[in-house]
């Protein structure tokens, strides 16, 4: 490791520059302290709380909410080993055990010399290179137990998104341009969408988005144009625009790839949206586990600013807009839109009760549009192509290109851009080359941890919004996690159960209690120790979470479990 300069004894320098903004700077300040001191001491926490006028109890509440903030010393080098379902298929647990042995430490214990701190974490969004780890800011893929201690000192992987498809619209620039070169961007049709949109009135822009049938790519598939219209018409100033780049759904890595390799397209999409709804301030909230994407985006924002594409009077059209980059700090729930607002406001990332909806009462209580990264990437494309051409892509009710993240036992894991709807079977067997090692398919998890398992005889569903919905499935964030016939789904369910119990925010009882009770039963299931009545317990817990939870996390925390129960009921008989 390079020698670090001794950090200043207090946060005074940082706080002098930022404290006037108050509580919204709490998470950035705590992240800065964590970076400087490898933890946040009581003294530093008090200094930050007082400067930002945040009650000290609440500072502790915020530190304890986010996995990447620690109130006890960690190590100079922080190693995060992904233990999500996909990485566990490829031996992540052995990797972490070996690493701990070689460094003579245990999970979440700093080494005696305080040099290393090893942590097992939920999905790092690098699933195409499983098993993976994050060594400080360096993502390292395809780790193996025998070289793991050496890997800690290895340079990071080159940024390669493993783009797997022929037709490339959303992914056209990925790997082909220098991501933060504006000339490269303009030579590859960059800014043409913005020019086309700025030639229209804001209301015309919204009409075009509605006519194009663009639907949100974050998982809920809400019509983007209607969302923009709601915020544009809402009372209240200022209006905010937020890009949700808190991609944390296990098995999802599409947004990271777009952010790292085509950051300008996201900024261009945000500019068009801001113009349409009349927003002057934007926030780009990127999960804390994506340090490389954050670095690239920060540079991209500066390039846009120098070119007059952010700031006052953009392109001489009398429209002002700027974007602030914000980092998450390890909390899946902050991908829920209202929890993300709370996080930007400097609070624990608890989801809010809806209604009111963000378009009326969003960030700082103001009208807000929040869209996913891939949704913003579609916007410049749509305006560059024109509505008519754009609508030719995808299907009638699910227009435009769509990204899918294939991982697990597929022959070709990676990012697939689909412009003509195909079935799940064709995606796996024609596009991605089928199953590794000549094995047969066992199951597919479609849509992410919040999605459903699909058995091999039900793969002929077209991957569109309308077809999956008719089949009782959801595309979610485009996750296609593939398991071969030798995999034990009970083990995968245990990983998912662990994920939800770890990531539940604890606000509402069904999810706070249900994710724990579900995990306990899934542990018995995975270890062949089911008790009489466990199937009924799991069903009651699952439906209570689904029916009664406050937000989408709890409402989907049992979806995968219930789908396995439906299609593989024999796995839940005691004695199996």
């Amino acid at each position: 490791m390079a020698e670090r300069a001794t950090p200043p004894a207090s946060m005074q320098d940082y706080l002098a520059a930022h404290a006037h903004r108050g509580q919204t700077m709490l998470l950035p300040a705590l992240l800065e302290a964590q970076k400087r001191y490898n933890h946040i001491s009581k003294e530093i926490a008090a200094e930050i709380g007082r400067a930002l006028n945040v009650p000290l109890a609440e500072v502790t509440g915020v530190i304890e909410f986010y996995s990447m903030l620690h109130d006890r010393p960690t190590g100079e080098t922080h190693i995060r080993i992904c233990e999500s379902p996909v990485c566990n298929l490829f031996g992540a647990k052995t990797v972490s055990k070996t690493l701990c042995r070689e460094l003579d430490t245990a999970i979440c214990e700093p080494t005696i010399d305080s040099k290393y701190y090893v942590e097992s974490v939920e999905c790092l969004g690098l699933c195409e290179r499983a098993p993976v780890m994050l060594v400080d800011d360096r993502p390292i893929g395809q780790t193996t137990p025998d070289v793991v201690a050496e890997l800690v000192r290895r340079p990071p992987d080159p940024p390669s998104g493993l783009i797997r498809t022929g037709t490339r619209l959303l992914t056209a620039r990925l790997g082909k341009i220098s991501p933060t070169s504006l000339p490269d961007y303009e030579e590859t049709d960059g800014l043409r969408g913005l020019e086309a949109a700025l030639a229209l009135s804001p209301m015309e822009v919204i009409e075009q988005v509605k006519a194009a049938g663009l639907m949100g790519r974050g998982g809920a598939a809400f019509p983007t144009g209607i969302k923009w219209e709601g915020a544009a018409q809402a009372e209240g100033q200022p209006k905010y625009l937020v890009c949700n780049a808190d991609e944390s759904e296990p098995g999802t890595f599409k947004d990271r790839t777009l952010l790292e390799e085509d950051p300008f397209s996201i900024l261009e999409g945000m500019l068009i949206a801001a113009y349409a709804i009349g927003a002057t301030q934007g926030f780009l909230y990127v999960r804390g586990e994506y340090p490389r994407a954050q670095g690239i985006l920060q540079r991209a924002i500066e390039v846009f600013r120098s070119a007059g594409l952010l700031g006052a009077n953009i392109r001489g059209r009398g429209f002002d807009f700027d974007i602030e980059l914000r980092s998450g700090a390890g909390a899946y729930i902050c991908g829920e839109e209202t929890a993300l607002f709370e996080s930007i406001e400097g609070k624990r990332g608890y989801p809010r009760i809806k209604p009111p909806f963000p378009t009326q009462h969003g960030l700082f209580g103001k009208p807000t549009v929040i869209n996913n990264v891939e949704t913003f990437a579609n916007v410049p494309l749509l305006f560059r192509m024109g509505v008519e051409e754009y609508r030719k892509l995808g299907s009638e009710k699910s227009s435009g290109p769509r990204l899918f993240c294939l991982s697990g036992d597929t022959f070709m894991p990676g990012l697939f851009e689909i412009t003509t709807p195909i079935t799940l079977r064709d995606l796996i067997f024609k596009e991605a080359g089928g199953i590794r090692n000549g094995r047969k398919l066992g199951a597919v998890l479609l849509g992410g941890a919040a999605g459903k398992f699909v058995p091999p005889d039900q793969l002929d569903v077209r991957l569109t919004f309308e077809d999956t919905r008719a089949a009782g499935l959801s595309l979610g964030s485009g996750v296609v996690m593939v398991f071969d016939e030798t995999r034990d789904l009970r083990q995968v369910l245990l990983d998912l159960g662990h994920f939800f119990a770890h990531e539940s925010c604890g606000k509402c009882y069904p999810c706070q209690l249900g994710t724990q009770r579900q995990l306990e039963i899934l542990e018995r299931l995975a270890h062949g120790q089911l008790l009489p009545g466990d199937k009924e317990r799991l069903t009651d817990v699952g439906w209570t979470m689904t029916d009664a939870s406050l937000c989408g996390l709890g409402q989907t925390a049992a979806t995968a479990v219930l789908s396995v129960m439906e299609h593989w009921p024999h796995l839940f008989e005691p004695g199996q």
Binding site: A45, T60, E64, L531, T544, D547, S549
Partner: protein, 235 residues
């Protein structure tokens, strides 16, 4: 303005702005609650008040869901009953509800199995006795947030408490777990007053239960305060 809606088949005229819980009261339907309290802002945490609304994908928490014209509400459907019963069973497997008579009554009403979750991990935090006025027995805490809210914007504006942790490990905390006398706490007692389970209990009440009279209680508290001052001074 009045809204017309149907609750369990009965047509109800409720003032505009009513919650479903208020509308249910007009229909003489009692809604079971755990976190809800008149003095604190409802947050829809416990979900024990959920009801089924025709056409809704998920159940609606009656305390924070506004009644709307034409709603068809069911307060005793199978889905509602399953959620309420399972919530009570999961809660009872997590904490000590022995001093929460209202919740005990709900468990009887919903025929909750008090042993539904064998082998369930209880939260079981240590009891905190760090001041002369009240004890914090968080093994009884069900995270209704009332104390945190009473300490903050709902009543006292003192901000000594916050929720901490996440998920099942959520708990009520102070700044770096500081003992109450080292926080901004002014010992107003509002948190104790709104606690539904005796997780917060005043020492006077404990001593009265032990049969002490007021003079002995005063003496006992004075001794404790002196012992703590001495301890504080020695540090």
């Amino acid at each position: 303005m009045t809204l017309t809606l149907t609750i369990d088949g009965r047509e109800i005229h409720a003032p505009a702005g009513s919650s479903l819980m208020q509308a249910a009261q007009l229909a003489d339907v009692d809604t079971p609650v755990i976190c809800y309290h008149e003095a604190t802002t409802p947050n829809g945490l416990c979900r024990q008040c959920v009801v089924e609304v025709d056409g809704w994908r998920v159940l609606a928490p009656a305390c924070v869901t506004p009644a709307a014209e034409g709603m068809e509400v069911h307060t005793a459907s199978e889905r509602v009953t399953r959620a309420r019963r399972t919530l009570l069973e999961m809660l009872n497997a997590s904490i000590d509800l022995s001093q929460a008579p209202e919740i005990q009554q709900q468990m009887d009403d919903y025929q909750a199995d008090r042993e539904r979750f064998p082998g369930a991990e209880r939260r079981a935090p240590a009891m905190l006795d760090d001041n002369p006025f009240y004890v914090r027995d968080y093994d009884k805490c069900l995270m209704c947030w009332r104390c945190v809210q009473a300490c903050a914007d709902d009543l006292q504006f003192t901000y000594a408490l916050s929720t901490g942790g996440r998920g099942y490990n959520s708990h009520v905390t102070t700044f770096f777990d500081a003992p109450m006398p080292e926080t901004t706490c002014v010992f107003c007692g509002n948190c104790v007053a709104v606690c539904p389970t005796n997780a917060l209990i005043s020492k006077t009440e404990i001593y009265l239960q032990q049969g002490l009279d007021y003079d002995s209680i005063r003496r006992e508290k004075r001794n404790q305060r002196r012992a703590q001052d001495k301890k504080g001074g020695a540090q």
